[in-house]
């Protein structure tokens, strides 16, 4: 069986496809540089849950975390790495293939 014959989901990477992480990557892609608290609000997560998912993405080299201060408050900013941008593009491309299959099937 060639790779083309396999279903598009076999090409999805769980590190990127997981719901919360896909959210983090798309928001970081939209915003270039995004603050931890903003991500938490947008994705409706606890700080612990968000930290855990950011850890997975950082370990995979898909995001970079930068700690600093805004006034006296500690802040963490998240940016996509080039590998993260590439991984998000690959995920979106697979999702488009998947959607095309489901949608085609609905046509008469």
């Amino acid at each position: 069986m060639t790779a083309d014959a396999l279903h598009p989901v076999t090409g999805l990477d769980d590190v990127v496809h997981q719901r919360v992480r896909l959210g983090i990557l798309t928001i970081a892609h939209e915003a270039c540089r995004v603050e931890f608290g903003y991500l938490r609000t947008q994705l409706q997560l606890t700080a612990g849950n968000l930290s855990q998912h950011l850890g997975v993405l950082e370990t995979a080299g898909l995001v970079a975390l930068e700690k600093g201060y805004e006034g006296k408050r500690g802040r963490t900013w998240i940016t996509l790495t080039p590998a993260g941008t590439h991984a998000l593009a690959a995920e979106i491309s697979r999702l488009k293939q998947l959607i095309a299959r489901v949608t085609l099937d609905d046509q008469p």
Copy 2:
């Protein structure tokens, strides 16, 4: 914050969005009624792993499993329930929203 202001991933259901389960649902949607061994090959899974994910989908009422025989060989067939069809449609709709956001951002 209204529901519309939240990121599209907050509306994704992990039961449906998980990579393997999304594969099962889309193949079952394409094929109407799909045999266990076919799913296993298409999704490149072990029998145990596929069974586990089918269990999650069956518990959620999204697929129905039917056991029977083809000649002397035991077979399991999988069909989408109406709730499964609805859940897949909701997932696809959210993925389209997500893709639109990422793609829009790439425009000048």
